[in-house]
Subunit: 220 residues, 2 copies
DNA sequence: TACAATAGTTAGAGTACTCTAACAAATAAA
DNA sequence: TTTATTTGTTAGAGTACTCTAACTATTGTA
């Protein structure tokens, strides 16, 4: 049985690992920053997780999940996203509120609760941020997505997920009327600062920064 | 902000305190047994809770909740019973399964979650075991209840709650077809062992032990 | 009222997780 | 290729919660 702390460590590794390409490995500094602890603390903890055969790790090397560690981490992500979906769909939480509460709910230990919840939500494939929800066996529909900033003038796309889940960004999206499924057309790319001029659904064209367009996942 | 451990300590005190009459105070041995820790451990913890002004306590004296401690404890019981209701009504958990999971869910910190959940459940007054759910302000409908063993032959009653929430007892009730709201009529009291002969709804009369009849709350 | 039984406390120690400070390895730059 | 910078490790210590063992106070009984 993993402690909440241990669960958070392997979850962080799954998240950072899946962002980078290839073997999905991460360094101590990046991990500790993401977890909000000092590198020394993270070193100790990953040593312990290595003993438990959840991570692969050698002194001064990159850290990656073992098969078992990856499954455990996926089951936490599964719970997190199912709870987010519940909070959003059933309890009327807003987009930006669900994450924080789901961070707590994801650590509840009850296999029955998870499967009942999934059934109650009618087996959702995506959470409110557009991220795919892993199934009980760890499978996950791959999301074919690109960042908005990769589009060219004239391209049209559908918003499928957010890359940045910070409250500031989510609130800004809300204000702009952007949700999962929203249609966006790129009118023009400003060479000076790489900002984009675009139309959101039927609204008037507006300009968004490169930071914005790199934080939104879309599908052509 | 209280830790999960601290929450469990004041919850135990509320529970034991409200079982006994008068000033609702409890001893260290009883509390530590209920919490599954050694008396030495409980002594330390209640000292700490005294510093936080959540309990009244002097060396070698009984322990009781302060006004603030009582409010905190009630809010945990509120969460516990709302979650039990959710698990039972919405997710199809059985009577005996809800408690264990609610023990975990009651520690989730989110005032919004609690009020949204209450609203989603349509402001329930009782949990699946028949116990009243405290309102946000700490108020609770008083349950006019007595134990089945206090009835006399010829009396008829309605089951309103269970006193013992152990899985063994709940499963036995299920087998007997006893639920909240079930009607029971006492036919005869056996002087030898104080067991009762009774009819449950329209079933054939059957005999139940004194242990059984002292574990069930009813209303005449 | 004295003493045995019960109830509660203190001291010392262990585990899990965290930190700071000092150091060592790996990597990038001159 | 030597050095500076970045990255990661070790040692020592602190907090929260738990234990055992030894002790003290309170209560009930003879």
């Amino acid at each position: 049985m993993l402690s909440i702390t241990e669960e958070n460590y392997i979850k962080a590794l799954l998240k950072i690992g899946s962002q980078s390409e290839e073997k999905a490995a991460a360094g101590i500094n990046e991990l500790s920053a993401h977890l909000g602890v000092k590198p020394a603390t993270a070193t100790d903890m990953f040593k312990k997780l290595k003993e438990k055969k959840l991570v692969d790790y050698k002194k001064y090397g990159k850290i990656s999940l073992t098969e078992e560690g990856r499954n455990k981490a996926l089951s936490i992500v599964r719970k997190h996203r199912l709870w987010e979906t519940f909070l959003f769909q059933k309890l009327g939480f807003t987009w930006d509120e669900v994450h924080e509460v789901a961070e707590q709910l994801e650590h509840i230990k009850s296999p029955k609760l998870v499967s009942k919840l999934e059934e109650y939500l009618d087996f959702p494939e995506f959470d409110p941020h557009g991220d795919p929800i892993p199934k009980a066996n760890g499978e996950m529909v791959p999301l074919d997505k690109m960042v908005l900033s990769d589009l060219k003038p004239g391209d049209t796309c559908i918003v499928v997920a957010v890359k940045d889940t910070s409250i500031l960004f989510l609130k800004y999206l809300e204000k702009l009327g952007v949700n999962i499924g929203t249609q966006i057309k790129v009118i023009e790319k400003v060479p000076f600062d790489s900002s984009l001029l675009l139309t959101i659904e039927d609204q008037e064209p507006r300009n968004v920064s490169i930071k914005f367009s790199e934080s939104l996942f879309v599908r052509k």
